[in-house]
Subunit: 215 residues, 2 copies
Amino acid sequence: MTTSAPVVVSRSTLKRLPLYLHVLEDLQRQGREYASCTMLAGKFDFAPILVRKDLEVTGAKGTAKIGFKVVDLIRDIKEFLGWHNVQDAFLVGAGNLGKALLGYKDFELYGLNIVAVFDADPRKVGTRVFNKEVLPMGRMPGLAKRMHINIGIVTVSADGAQAVVDAMVISGIRAIWNFAPAPLSIPDGIILENARLTQSLAVLSNNLKRTLQSE
Amino acid sequence: MTTSAPVVVSRSTLKRLPLYLHVLEDLQRQGREYASCTMLAGKFDFAPILVRKDLEVTGAKGTAKIGFKVVDLIRDIKEFLGWHNVQDAFLVGAGNLGKALLGYKDFELYGLNIVAVFDADPRKVGTRVFNKEVLPMGRMPGLAKRMHINIGIVTVSADGAQAVVDAMVISGIRAIWNFAPAPLSIPDGIILENARLTQSLAVLSNNLKRTLQSE
DNA sequence: TTATTATCGATAGAAAATTATCGATAAATC
DNA sequence: GATTTATCGATAATTTTCTATCGATAATAA
């Protein structure tokens, strides 16, 4: 097997790929066999050429006039994102957001399987969330090491986030998906991805403000 | 009053502004009076010049050697984002994610006040979520018009999303914050902002895949 | 007082992302 | 079978975003 060097692509492209994937899975359910960049672009008001460039990085090959084979394209995108192999993950913070994520069934389709939940609050420990028992924080490092967990999800408040991240790093976790609204410091080599709702809200608010102003 | 033309700035800048805001509010709580771009940049591993450029769009003025006055900068960013005036919003979809958003107290700091919750499921109607009664979908349009609601939040599943959005548009809602993983079509002039978790997850997964591959 | 340093603000330059162009090809139409 | 059309794939041009440079200024130190 020729292991080609991992391709680095822009964040923007990376964020558009799941959008295409959603649509493609929908098309697959509808029984469509082929999809063109023009058609995909139409769903999002993107330029067709942008979609073609994005798909290029996945290595998918299309044919003129008919486009890409839906099953192949789904496979190539998933493979490129690393979603073909499901990764086990730990979640820390059994608050509302944590519960919402635990209840989101589709994560497995996106390569993510949340296998355990932890919380520092003794009142939450022992309760069950979507059929998973909330475990005490103290057990996290040992279990993470033993189970070779690579992904940690942080859904605690801003205050506690840094401590949780530090514990995760010590436990051998390599990639952290952070939902806490706090800037976190991590050592080199650890992957940190922030999922901040307020960022998206900022774009919305500013657009609305401009619209209302120009009336 | 000289109403200057609304400034259009890049999405990237817009998404970084709330990050600075979080830090600044933290600094304010700590009693810091001034903050420099260099220091803010350090919190996020950004280039100081990038922060300076971002802040420029808000119209905030700093002084050499000391930086920006924290209170003024917070005010200018909030004003620029439209977060100085709190907007009332309706939320549709009282599932787990909907509940999580309802439970997020800080939205008011970010110009958002969720005043009512709706759901199409009769079993959910009448229940209370964070002290708000879940109302039937049928009442949404009338109430939205009467209360002059500008913002609608969609936390239903992908299937139901388009119908909810259509209803919102008819009800006079101008800006839609969508959490459903579906591409939505909206008429011109309506603002649509998608908050998609899978986008953020895609970046994380791809990074992790590349890290694991290169070992 | 004068020199030094950190930082701002403005302008210019570099890099990255997006869009356009064009030949090739496969299907559809005449 | 020839012509037209939609689309791909590759390369080039454009636009946008990010970074560097430089003079000005305010605080600090000598």
